[in-house]
Symmetry: D2
Subunit: 342 residues, 4 copies
């Protein structure tokens, strides 16, 4: 259920409607738009008494929402959501006019490794740094990440180079620490339907980068975002990273069609990860161009100065020189879509 307010409704009227909704036992989610505010109602398994809400001052109408998701939907919020990520060197906006680039190693291996790569990434003007301190690995015997010491290294990267930090949380415990050290909490593909973790991320006060699960439909992907938003955290950035199919010429099948599909249904921004999406270094550059050309709001790219020695996913990491070329080409592609790059 969605309550649409008049264009000139006062803040007090919005508050009154929210209070009434909560007095009925539901949760109210005021969503300010460019011309008017809408209020999403969640927690209603059965019917809500529309009459009592529609007659309140400032209310235009109450719309039953048929799609299973509400807060993520463009029906609820027509304008694109732009998420502000504070970074020492200047805030980064995701979902607006500029294409946002985020780069760094798959895993933080050492301070030296992270700082070396960060320096080269920062030199390209990119202000989002990625790197895993907690790595979900298929094998229990593979490198699982440095844990909190890895987060400390990321904090040092932020301090030295002014970049905002994006890093993955894999459970409640690591999410507590990621929330403390980092600027964006990443939820990985394997945890896209770890609903307990999604709810915890929904109570965090930092933006969440949510990766699409390997076999998630668009509805499931948006419902996972809805889990986060339904707990009150509206700063969700979606990320396509390839799905699993029969095709064996790349590690995953990057589904770029999902970008315009998300844009039609949701106001949330969506990035593309061409590194996991293809799993092969030589495909990162062409697929990065394609992702920006299709309309993605940004890229998540793995960069490593010594990919052949990387402790994880070296095969899909590009070297800093290739990343420079990538930034240059992306800038030109973005211009065709009247976008800049940051």
């Amino acid at each position: 259920m969605l309550v649409v307010m008049q264009a000139h409704a006062t803040e007090e009227q919005v508050r009154d409607v929210c209070r009434r909704i909560e007095s009925l036992g539901f949760k109210a989610h005021p969503i300010p738009g460019s011309t008017r505010t809408a209020i999403g109602i969640t927690g209603n398994t059965g019917a809500v008494d529309i009459g009592s809400l529609e007659s309140m001052p400032g209310v235009v109408e109450c719309i039953p929402v048929s799609k299973p998701y509400k807060l993520v939907s463009r029906d609820v919020k027509e304008d694109d959501t732009v998420i502000r990520i504070p970074a020492p060197a200047g805030d980064v906006l995701v979902g607006g006019q500029a294409v946002a680039l985020c780069a760094g190693p798959c895993a933080i291996e050492s301070a030296e490794q992270a700082l070396t790569i960060a320096k080269q990434v920062a030199a390209t003007g990119v202000r989002l740094f990625r790197g895993g301190a907690y790595k979900p690995r298929t094998s229990p015997y593979s490198f699982q990440g440095l844990g909190e010491p890895g987060l400390e290294i990321l904090a040092e990267v932020r301090q030295r180079f002014g970049m905002a930090i994006v890093t993955e949380a894999v459970d409640h415990e690591s999410l507590d620490l990621v929330e403390k050290y980092a600027d964006v909490i990443q939820i990985g593909a394997r945890n896209m339907q770890n609903f307990s973790l999604l709810k915890r991320a929904g109570r965090a006060r930092k933006p969440v980068l949510l990766k699409r699960g390997m076999s998630a439909t668009l509805d499931e992907f948006l419902m996972a975002a809805e889990y986060i938003m339904s707990e009150g955290n509206y700063n969700v950035i979606l990320c396509e990273r390839g799905v699993r199919t029969f095709a064996d010429h790349s590690r995953n099948t990057l589904d770029l069609t999902v970008v315009p599909a998300v844009k039609r249904r949701s106001h949330l921004p969506i990035l593309v990860d061409p590194s996991h999406g293809t799993g092969r270094r030589h495909k990162v550059l062409p697929l990065s161009r394609a992702a920006v050309a299709v309309g993605a709001d940004g890229l998540l790219v793995e960069v490593h100065h010594e990919p052949d020695r990387a402790l994880s996913d070296g095969m899909q990491s590009i070297v800093p020189e290739e990343f420079c070329q990538l930034v240059e080409e992306i800038r030109q592609i973005a211009a065709v879509l009247h976008r800049s790059v940051n």
Copy 2:
């Protein structure tokens, strides 16, 4: 790495080898077989000094294991693993001569509902009862399970009808409670690669029922079991529940071929869930027959006395009368494979 002991090696010799392995900084996993003991070594990313082990008394040879999984592998343990689940009305063995049936509602909705269904299930002689107290649901607005009160109802089912209880844990917190109340801890398909939860289950002292993820390869499935075993819990029961494909005539595509494939590579028992596997009531009976015919060690079946009123997954639940027929047909199919049913 795997250390194979002589057929007549003493327990003391086995202990000595384990101690040496641990003094080298690795983890030792003695695995008794019908004729000899093998000792799996985990925690070795690099090379293990074979020489010092191979020269120890009682050791036949040291075998480098090429497959990424070790403890789940039939290379490590040739004989089928039989898991004993203690139930008041008599222990249930999973993986042995008898086909194990486990039945009950998708979700525990109330004491009345659970006891009604349990009574009818118990009447068929089945001694494993399933029912969810924590439900991972695609939508945050769907019924999420009763939580601990649901577990208390399950405990009452056990007490009244003597059945062992199988129920799902979705995070560390619910796993603590499931371990306390239930007999088998279920890890759902969506959490098959929630490695933090797998490790926690590996430290539990109750058997774990691990469901295959919706797009998990056989290797990933076995590696998820390896996560649990690598923490010391060797009582893992696998469960096929359908995979995601393009086919739209059933909710999932039940992959029965995985049963003989598991049997070749692993010593662990494997059940089949024809309810989630098909998502349609009228397909549960034929696919149950097929699952036992292909060699599955048991079935996980959703039974509800009023499926059309079920709070979740009613479309795939069969009524108790149909379940009686299922038990009867399964008994006949099992007999063809020289198996009984319990």
Copy 3:
């Protein structure tokens, strides 16, 4: 559109309705059932003038058919279709009480090979022999089959052992020859949507065995059968042979759920091919049991006396001794479903 006739409608009345339908420019397909005849109307892209038909003697009602297929549908013909395949040693019925077994090599390699295998297959009582004279191979450099000399060998097998012959046609030219030499015309998975070939098979006067395409939905599978039936050949036998998915533990993913799904929607019989469906010898036996347990009307099994020397698909062929065991186990499984084996 479907015209349902009264239970006691005369043959003359049926003929009159057919004539009227054809005078309107459509095609009439009278389909006799156990209690009444229905008449399918095809060729109508737009509306049919129902009034003029419904008022004719013997007509009960005219039903617009919503599903895209008509003649294959159980709406049109409630009773299972039983297809009679004439064989010198006694006709074989497919789709009736008995489970039909069809066995033989993947490809006919020589008279000696075919006769050796045929002798062993015939000794088990099986009366359908399969073997390819035209082989659709992924590579132009692989053995493509013997062509017409292969068909001559198959004719000799029929004569010597009294078995009916099932063999594949790959284009119009080979279909002309297969129709001449064989008893059942097989259309392979790769040609399931070769509509030109389907139409040609629809004009043949021998039954057609239609294999499901590697990524065909159930609707597409049934529509392919509809192509054959719409040309007047109602003797279509469906065959599931595995679909393509991400799973890599078997060559294809055998989709046994399609069997009850077909049975609900269509009156046509359906076989299962566990050899192509799994691609591995050791999986043929368990999946054969499962296929019969799920309700398939028969099996298509590859048997070769020297599988390691086979010119094609040796990896999935079983030896005659294994086939004997298969027949024995299938007989027992079929008995549970109150079916015999022929």
Copy 4:
């Protein structure tokens, strides 16, 4: 097997080697490159006597080719293949510096429809016109194309607007006619493994546009091209048109990663069909941009002046005005890759 000739080998030397190969019972395929000629040998199931070839004048070496395909491989021909399509208004090159656009309706419905659309397409400068006279449709009751009268309309389009014609053949009979009337013979996705048709196309003297099958791996796709080339027709243009996956937000999943994958393994040009690839009008423009950005050699786009009245696939056709915008955006994207558009 591949015979590599010296850079300065004479034509006579090449001819001599070919003669020797054929005298050994194989087929020789001389493939001229920018610096040297290579000669592919096909028809060899067993070993070729290398010695007798390597000692011939002008031969550098004989390389056994491990991949199942040969003629399509970049190992055999390092330089990109550029295919010249003669058009009255000037030849079109596919696979060279310029991105080739091909547009037109899904099906030819009438002279008026085709000429109306052709006029508008021609006005954008595009010189390849597409339109089906033979339509492979899922249902036998759907519009199957106009047949030869449709080809006559296409011939009129060529004459009036100077465009080259691309149209599909579905069997030997239609291929004979398509070869007579059109400039490029299209083989559709459903016939990608109709090997009989591929061989016939290999004997045609016009270029072939080969669409990837719905569940074809890259190897199978290239092997289908190999079938055509092995019969002597080296002018094969590949086309990605979306594959079948679980994803339900678009009709197919357009697999753009296949473009750089093809480029690595083969010298053949590859186009992308964003119309079938997505199945939705509003996704055609963004995916067209992405396809060119990823490196495709051209696009195949469905354009219809009245898509809502189209007899087939109207949902994925764009109107001429949208196509103008598409051409404009493609021109800009192509420029980033230093390519022009024709």
